[in-house]
């Protein structure tokens, strides 16, 4: 090997923790942009500012790295939503706060959202399992909300059986609307959340008659 070549020798040595964080940040960015398969470890190492063997040393193989990204971003999203919801509130307010927290997160962390929604769900491997598990958790959460709301107001049993499906539809509507929102960033997150809240709570039949849902607490703006 060319021993006499004048290398910069300027590599700053950093503790493992920091490097891992840098690598994960870069990976989320690259996976979000190109997708799992089209993303190369070389590009990730470039963006992270380290060499490829560092990634293997710290985060393992490509699958492990992707899984680590999913895990980190997913728990950030779940934490964000959980932080917005208070268990004491009535169902419609819980749903409202959950939707608001969700859209706030998506607006602030577009890349996180892309890697979760676009990439993870479409990869067949062990990722989608992990990711779909989180998605199922969200659906179960909404389902519980709907069931609680329905039974407390005496909805009949037959209709109650459909709440899981409705929860899946609601989660899908949120995801789709989040994607739409990425193309229309001029709309405030609160407005988008309000649209969806009205659609699912009031229904379009009510909306065209001018019956809208508004949060019980007065909101500024």
């Amino acid at each position: 090997m060319s021993v006499d070549e004048r290398r910069p020798t300027k590599v700053k040595r950093l503790p493992r923790e920091v490097r891992e964080r840098q690598i994960l940040d870069a990976a989320v960015r690259v996976f979000s942009e190109h997708g799992y398969h089209n993303a190369s470890m070389d590009e990730i190492s470039d963006v992270a500012g380290v060499s490829k063997p560092m990634i293997y040393a710290y985060l393992g193989h490509k699958e492990d790295l992707f899984a680590a990204c999913i895990r980190r971003e997913a728990s950030m999203l779940i934490e964000a939503i959980a932080a917005g919801v208070e268990a004491e509130l009535p169902p419609d307010m819980q749903l409202w706060h959950g939707l608001r927290a969700f859209f706030r997160f998506v607006g602030a962390q577009k890349e996180s959202w892309r890697v979760l929604h676009r990439q993870a769900t479409s990869q067949g491997g062990p990722f989608s399992e992990e990711l779909l598990a989180m998605r199922d958790r969200a659906i179960a959460l909404v389902d519980a909300l709907l069931v609680r709301s329905a039974t407390s107001r005496g909805m009949d049993e037959a209709a109650t059986k459909s709440t899981e499906a409705l929860a899946a539809a609601l989660v899908g509507a949120s995801e789709s609307l989040a994607d739409w929102w990425l193309d229309h960033p001029e709309v405030p997150d609160k407005v988008v959340a309000g649209w969806l809240m009205n659609l699912v709570w009031m229904g379009f039949g009510d909306l065209v008659d001018g019956h809208v849902w508004t949060p019980a607490t007065p909101t500024a703006g």
Copy 2:
């Protein structure tokens, strides 16, 4: 090369049209199962019962092949929906028939649906453009429906601006519910369509009060 080897020599010669159809069928199946990147041309040629150069001769490169799949399956879906909707009906009935046709299609062509929803939307290349264009067409269709419904009943202008977003949410809800349905095939397509119709037309607030939407025409059940 072993010239004396006893090959079957039983390859049935078929006209180009038939082979192209076979190849497209196989491609949809393999793409649906493994995704675009994990699907290999070798496996597609295997499933199709032809050799790889045939695919290249008839359908071109991998991207072209995938695009051809998307195009064929997408137009089948659109035709199916268009065939179910009659322009003369009131908006809610149009939506109802559209939803029914959609879920009927998904139920009958699960692989087509998978390749459209899961694979095409998550690939960054020229596919997603084509596919998203079709999706936008669906959203525009629903949007027109909502606008027509809203203006005919005097909805105010401000709310009308949100119909495009609501249409996106509705399309997403349909997609997500279709995915949920793949895991619960015991539910009839009509029932699933009914759930979604009620959610988006009546809203959950109405549903828990027992206000449900039913088609105007009596349906055998």
